[in-house]
């Protein structure tokens, strides 16, 4: 499903990812861990083509990102749901609209949008917050809105960048439960986190990064 082959990505003087090779199988749930600046976010950005590799090739859901035309990027991204570290919620739109946009950009009709948004809101426990604006929500609630937006189009791949960063243990557990459910339906899930509690004894593969280097892959 995801194949990194000898990928290197540099930012000015710093190397974010160095000669990185990794394959993620379809339906796998994988954790990527490491300290801040280890290259976790860069790895995810390379998957949804927010960054391009300086060396090496990446294959995502059958798409070779090397030489990918700009006009094809939206269609690659439609295979991927992303839980952004900085949320990227639209302050001028309510919860319903924030989630619905993921379907509207795909040209899905209003009736289907309405049904799916309420169904997803129920799944993340925010049905009662449909009309609320992001600023009025707690951190945990905002995170769940972002998760809802990422999973609503039933993506082939779900990427989560520090999805439990500022959440309490209960909220973090709730978020992880959603990811497991999504993964159980066949979606490939990648979670980048420095919180070891999220993958301890999970039986999942954990990729360890440090200073842009792959330092190990082990099963938790």
């Amino acid at each position: 499903m995801i194949h990194f082959r000898n990928v290197t990505k540099d930012y000015d003087t710093q190397t974010a990812l160095r000669d990185f090779t990794l394959s993620v199988e379809k339906g796998e749930m994988l954790f990527v861990t490491g300290p801040s600046g280890s290259g976790k976010t860069t790895m995810l950005k390379l998957i949804y083509s927010a960054e391009r590799p300086d060396k090496g090739t990446i294959e995502i859901a059958g798409w070779e990102t090397d030489g990918l035309r700009a006009s094809s990027i939206p269609f690659l991204r439609r295979n991927i749901g992303v839980v952004f570290q900085d949320f990227r919620l639209l302050d001028n739109k309510n919860v319903f609209e924030n989630i619905a946009i993921a379907l509207r950009i795909r040209g899905i009709g209003e009736r289907e949008v309405k049904g799916k948004v309420y169904e997803t809101l129920k799944m993340v426990g925010l049905r009662h917050k449909a009309d609320a604006y992001p600023r009025t929500l707690s951190g945990g609630e905002q995170q769940r809105v972002v998760v809802a937006r990422a999973i609503i189009p039933d993506p082939t791949i779900l990427l989560a960048d520090e999805p439990t960063g500022n959440l309490d243990a209960n909220s973090a557990e709730g978020i992880m439960r959603i990811f497991k459910n999504v993964n159980a339906k066949g979606t490939t899930v990648l979670v980048a986190t420095h919180n070891k509690e999220l993958f301890r004894n999970s039986g999942r593969r954990v990729v360890k990064l440090d200073m842009g280097n792959l330092v190990g892959v082990e099963t938790a």
Binding site: A70, P74, R77, V82, R88, L90, I101, R104, I105, G107
Partner: protein, 292 residues
């Protein structure tokens, strides 16, 4: 696939949210289109007035006093052979004097003491429509003066040259004004859409990351540009129609001369479409190439 209704919703929301900047743009566009309309109005009337010139224009050829009937016929035949000449009318010196007396009937003292008729026999030439221009008329006058028995040719050379100069000048000024204001309107739409685009940069970046295509991002802004232009066009149309109703039609009741002025309503009905196209052009330039 593009969801047009949702793009429409986004455009309408943005138009309402930024209502003051949009209103200002619409009024600026309307003013520009109104000035363009007035320029078009002027050009249309000047063109129409100069088109009527061939009907009014005539050249007077004065003949030598010594000419006999057959000599005069010879001059007439020579002139009729010229391709620029449409018709030739003979005016005898007696007819000319009668006409002059008719014109100066309030100043008949001018004719006191006149024993002999001082006026010469003359020919009035009407020219073909395409020949009424400073250069062709000048050439015809030169050729006519070369005919034996022709004493003088009078055709208001300076007036004709001035009229054509004024027509060409006003048409050029009108055209330059239309082009400049059209560019100005495109720039107003460009600036407005650019501002609206910058204000929504974060939102657009999020759309891109979620998989929005360029068309999805562009469409609401193009609709906004189209709306600004079309609204400006409608207001300018109302303005020029009001000018016609309140000024031209009302004044023509007391000033019949104004009835001769043309008001090209059909042309002005295109103003909203012209505004719409200029608005879309400005918006398209403002959006440029959306990068991923």
């Amino acid at each position: 696939m593009i969801a047009l209704p949702y793009s429409l919703v986004l455009a309408v929301k943005s138009l309402l949210k930024e209502k003051w900047i949009n209103l200002l743009s619409v009024l600026t566009i309307a003013s520009g289109l109104l000035i363009i309309s007035i320029a078009v109005f002027g050009v249309v009337n000047i063109t129409a007035a100069t088109h009527q010139l061939p009907e009014k224009f005539s050249m007077i050829v004065y003949l030598d006093d010594s000419l006999q009937k057959k000599d005069i016929d010879g001059v007439i035949n020579s002139l009729k052979k010229n391709n620029s000449v449409h018709s030739v009318k003979y005016i005898s010196k007696e007819e000319a004097l009668e006409e002059m007396k008719g014109l100066l009937k309030d100043s008949d003292y001018v004719f006191e003491g006149l024993d002999d008729n001082p006026l010469p026999d003359s020919l009035e030439l009407k020219l073909r429509e395409e020949s009424v221009g400073p250069e062709t008329v000048k050439k015809l006058a030169r050729e006519t003066l070369g005919i034996e028995g022709v004493r003088e040719v009078d055709y208001g050379e300076k007036f004709l040259a001035m009229l054509h100069g004024v027509k060409a000048g006003l048409q050029t000024v009108g055209l330059v004004l239309i082009v400049m204001l059209s560019v100005g309107i495109v720039f107003v739409c460009y600036s407005t859409v650019k501002i609206l685009f910058y204000r929504r940069t974060e939102e657009i970046e999020t759309y891109k990351l979620l998989g929005a295509t360029r068309s999805f991002i562009r469409l609401p802004f193009l609709i906004e540009g189209a709306f600004l232009g079309a609204a400006g066009g409608i207001i300018s149309l109302l303005g020029i129609l009001s000018f016609n109703y309140l000024v031209l039609l009302r004044l023509s009741l007391s000033m019949p001369l104004l009835r001769k002025i043309l008001f090209p309503t059909d042309l002005f009905l295109l103003l909203p479409i012209a505004g719409l196209l200029l608005g879309i052009t400005g918006a398209a330039i403002a959006l440029g190439r959306i990068r991923y």
